[in-house]
Symmetry: C2
Subunit: 658 residues, 2 copies
């Protein structure tokens, strides 16, 4: 991604808009102060200035969203800009859910608010996303629409005509594809014409396999837009910003038309919208970009890009070293990963009315990274770290957990689980011998005792959540473990939110190092936590006499995480994988048999982990592709799924055809 060339809004304007943002949030200015501020800003704006309302809506809370819009609109009016532009479906708040199917009155409520907002609209046009009733067929589906409000009225409505149904998007479930004249898309803003697009899908040019932006450049003068205006609700993922950059830069250059891209900020359950609304000039150069993962009252001008950008958004503009190959160099994606999760956790807690969190601190990597995240997202005083040692827990783990809590300044307590564990084990031993009398199928070796430990810990955490106001415990499972089903139901995978469930183990190590380097308080994470090899400390490895390490039970994380990457990002089968070289093979020599054994173990474990994925708590989507259930639709019943291909010869033999 190239450097941003710079834009008209200099440091001064930026500081002024921060005052506006504070006023919108806190209502802290008098009308006189507002007018004074507006008078200072106006001379610094150009003729074609537009406000991009990079707002954080609350899904389904129409009143809240509408009253928020009102405040932003009033400020835009005061600045007399040409328009203020909100994201797609803003009045309902992305993501749209089945509530609009069950409760059409919510859609009606939003429609009425649109009429109210229209009354506030003056010379500054208001361009705002909503959901529109559709009377053209009996499908019961809606239009995903954007309204243009001006001079007290709804001037026009533009409807989305390219629907998306990949990953977290299921638009065909809710919306019909609109058929409309290209002319409809044109919005007059002063002496300029904007061509309106709705959603990611409409921005994807046919040169990239999509069917969007078809209306540009093929028309007679009167509907040829001077710039393209895209109202979008786009979720952050690894590599997505650079993909978006390629797309937007390509379009603006191809059609020699600037493009403005308005995205929302904020998170909703698993989806973290990154903001970073941006503008490209007619040469395909990025000339403005708003902050990442924050609301911003962002003044832009697609025809003027002199001056310095301030402050530059950070976190998403670096491209991963290789987009098409697995790498252990996660650095370019770490700031974005951190921000994605922080925003998700913060909004999940805030929007759902939670204030406090508790989590188990094992002294291991997962709970450590989670503790840092919780402290940064909801405030260290609101976090309680609970160390719950068993007899397998090492002295080092205990002291690491304590040290971490001290460094972070979070609350800390040690709660031994021995008495609860013993009571369960004694009860179980008695019970199992009675059951054995009827069921002659008791395992010689079982995970029962390992799991009692994990479940006792979860019971303690849920107990705290039940006992203290607005407290919610979290699950500390990571993505590598989720793939392997290496987590205990009602144990470590249980909690109100799972902050790192879409981050693989090797990336977590990198993230821990990054946090140590980039947080205000450096090196909060004791080095011993980052340098030790992970293990659940639930069982002893009979071979070593020490706590069983995860890699002994599974396979090296570097290998595992590359299989995960390949499953998600390539279309390779297990056989394709066996044939091509893994990064790990360049680091360590492994035999062909060893590699195949790991691959088979991976697919076998992944298959039976499906059940655990289905009951995983909500977790932020972080990666390009993920198994988050908001995104990944898969039945559990897939134990026989044909991951391996058979040859035609084998098939003929199986079918007994000569």
């Amino acid at each position: 991604m190239p450097k941003i060339k710079g834009f008209k809004m200099d440091k001064k304007v930026y500081e002024y808009t921060e005052i506006i943002e504070r006023d919108i949030a806190e209502n802290n200015l008098t009308n006189e102060e507002r007018e004074e501020l507006a008078a200072k800003i106006k001379p610094m704006l150009c003729d074609d200035s537009i406000v991009l309302a990079q707002v954080n809506p609350t899904s389904g809370d129409i009143k809240k969203n509408a009253l928020k819009a009102k405040k932003w609109i009033e400020w835009a009016n005061m600045l007399e800009v040409k328009a203020i532009v909100f994201p797609e479906t803003f009045l309902l708040g992305a993501p749209i859910g089945d509530y609009i199917i069950k409760f059409p009155q919510i859609v009606e409520e939003a429609r009425e608010w649109l009429d109210v907002l229209a009354k506030i609209a003056a010379k500054t046009k208001v361009i705002i996303g909503f959901v529109e009733f559709n009377n053209s067929d009996k499908s019961g589906k809606y239009y995903n629409s954007v309204a243009v409000l001006s001079d007290g009225k709804i001037e026009k409505i533009i409807r989305k005509s390219v629907l998306s149904d990949y990953a977290e998007l299921n638009e065909s479930r809710y919306f019909v594809r609109a058929v409309q004249d290209d002319e409809t898309r044109v919005v007059e803003l002063g002496n300029k014409k904007a061509g309106l697009l709705i959603g990611e899908g409409e921005c994807v040019s046919s040169d990239f396999g999509g069917e969007g932006v078809n209306f540009v450049g093929k028309h007679k003068k009167n509907i040829q837009p001077d710039f393209i205006l895209a109202c979008v609700a786009s979720v952050s993922r690894t590599g997505k910003e650079s993909q978006k950059h390629s797309m937007l830069s390509y379009i603006s250059k191809k059609y020699s038309t600037p493009i403005i891209f308005v995205n929302q900020a904020g998170a909703s359950d698993c989806l973290s919208y990154n903001g970073e609304s941006c503008v490209y000039n007619a040469l395909g150069e990025l000339i403005y970009r708003a902050k990442s993962f924050e609301e911003q009252f962002f003044i832009v001008n697609p025809f003027d890009n002199e001056g310095m950008i301030y402050p530059a958004a950070t976190g998403s503009d670096k491209r991963m070293n290789s987009e098409n190959k697995f790498t252990l160099d996660y650095e370019p994606d770490l700031e974005r990963t951190y921000k994605t999760i922080i925003q998700s956790v913060r909004d999940y807690y805030n929007k759902n009315g939670f204030k406090r969190a508790c989590l188990g601190l094992s002294g291991g990597l997962d709970s450590t990274v989670c503790a840092v995240i919780m402290a940064d997202a909801i405030g260290k005083e609101n976090v309680f770290g609970i160390s719950m040692p068993s007899k397998i827990t090492s002295a080092e783990s205990k002291s690491d957990a304590k040290k971490l809590a001290e460094n972070l300044g979070i609350n800390f307590i040690e709660v031994p689980i021995k008495s609860m564990f013993d009571a369960a084990r004694d009860n179980f031993n008695n019970m199992f011998s009675q059951i054995e009398a009827k069921w002659d199928c008791r395992y010689k070796q079982s995970y029962t005792n390992d799991n009692i430990q994990a479940r006792t810990r979860a019971m303690i955490l849920w107990g705290i959540s039940n006992e203290f106001e607005n407290c919610l415990c979290i699950a500390t499972s990571d993505k590598s473990e989720a793939y392997m089903g290496y987590a205990t139901i009602n144990g470590d995978m249980s909690g109100g939110f799972a902050p790192i469930a879409d981050v693989t183990k090797t990336k977590l190590f990198a993230l821990a190092r990054w946090m140590n380097e980039h947080r205000e308080i450096k090196n909060a994470i004791p080095n011993s936590i980052i340098s030790k090899r992970p293990g659940a400390e639930l069982a002893i490895n009979p071979k070593t006499g020490k706590p069983l390490l995860a890699e002994e039970a599974l396979m090296p994380y570097e290998f595992m995480d590359e299989v995960i990457w390949r499953v998600e990002n390539t279309h390779q089968s297990i056989d394709d994988m066996a044939k091509s070289e893994f990064l790990y093979e360049r680091l360590e020599h492994i035999t062909k048999e060893q590699k195949l054994e790991w691959l088979e173990k991976f697919f076998r474990r992944m298959t039976s982990a499906g059940y655990k994925w289905s009951i995983m708590p909500p977790a932020p989507i972080v990666d390009t592709v993920s198994i988050n259930k908001t995104e990944y639709h898969q039945s559990i019943l897939s134990s026989g799924i044909s991951y391996r291909k058979t040859s035609m010869q084998e098939k003929m033999k199986l079918a007994a055809i000569k």
Copy 2:
């Protein structure tokens, strides 16, 4: 639904096909015996006889499905019928999941099996559903296609052109809408022409708001079909069979064209396909119907409907007394409900390799109904009922649980939870006082102790699942409780499968009575269980000094279940509901204030229950509409969702517009 008029295949043919089905399953006949049997059946068939392969596929297990198809095809070949017809997507097995996106080689594998099956196809044509690669665009999506195999070759391929995206269906995610000549749909079968439809959506006539069956009746003679053949994968739900009947009867009558509807049997996670493949004559009369929830080698002839039907499918052909009004008369839907759940549980256990189940027996209704279901679905010897009394558990509950287990013949054991509960409580008391020193927000009254009981019980059940081979515990939550969030996370809502999570409490009472009457062993459920008022026995009601009853904590079940019904089946808002009469109001006098209080409590509790829905174990879909997460897409973050409309006046006031 009218009575079936009867059909050619009499008791004898039915008995013969049962021998065929056994041979397919067990391979128990010699080739000579097969030829002998075929020779007996052939003279009883008509010229245009067709075999409907009502088969139970396994989603994703291509080899298993293909080899199953092979056996059915070979038998059809021996009978020299005109065709054997399999359901939609059969080779992959409905439901399709995201595995076809991640692993295209699975689609390739199925495509190759199609070539193998083609080699088996002789004069009897094979009509079979699969998933087809699409090279017509860059979408990466597939066609949902049906192949016609004959004489060793693929004769033609028909593609689905009406995709559905409601409830459990997300077809636009996987498939592109095919554009093809109507002529393509015509399949020559002897001197008759079949017009092929794929899926429910293509059967919905425009008179019912759909866009299917458009090709019939508008064409010149050469593509006018003699009968319609629909390959479908259709899930069972309350009222769906009678809807389907209306549709199919309407179509066949309108176009004076018989219609054959081929559905699959079997379940996959939450979806239970009911089979009941059927045939309507040109007068719109139902003339054949296959068994419900079972595989069947079903020989039909759309042009001949003399004779007696044997045996008639039961369970789905009764219409609920009122389709558009809430009723407590569940009788017409109980047999279907029972069969839907039994098939779901059986297939979930069988297809996932589980053999045994354990569940808590509280002596209450939910666990009782679950125990009956488990005994009937996987065999009484494979079920262990665990009574886990606490000090609140009444003597009656204990004896009811024991009596039930005896009557059912399942294994039974009593495991007191006192020692585990005490250990947890003591540990918690100590811990809470330490935490309180930092967090001054401890509840005066909390649910912590109630929940310790529920979580201890779940810990015991998961312990048994961990300790004994192929054992999986179940969750006994019902739908009314799910709506109210009246279930404990990691407690009673935890388990490997949740058999009754889509059945409301009032319907469960009816189901319990129905089971007592219709199971081979009558009255297995002690009457005292059915007649007592439900309560979780986790806490004491301070007002009565007795265990708190659920209705005391919530609202009367008759009222609650009608709100659920209205939320799912009408588009009413909370205000609409307040205005219209509830069935309960005819039974008991309640004040307007009381009613509004209950309604508000319902919506408030439903909103915060969203989190629990998201981590509910897989559960069979039973009702017309459900909150099963396979079907219902909703973010949790909806605590502010605008269930109540505000007036325009209120809005103007909120927006401070005069």
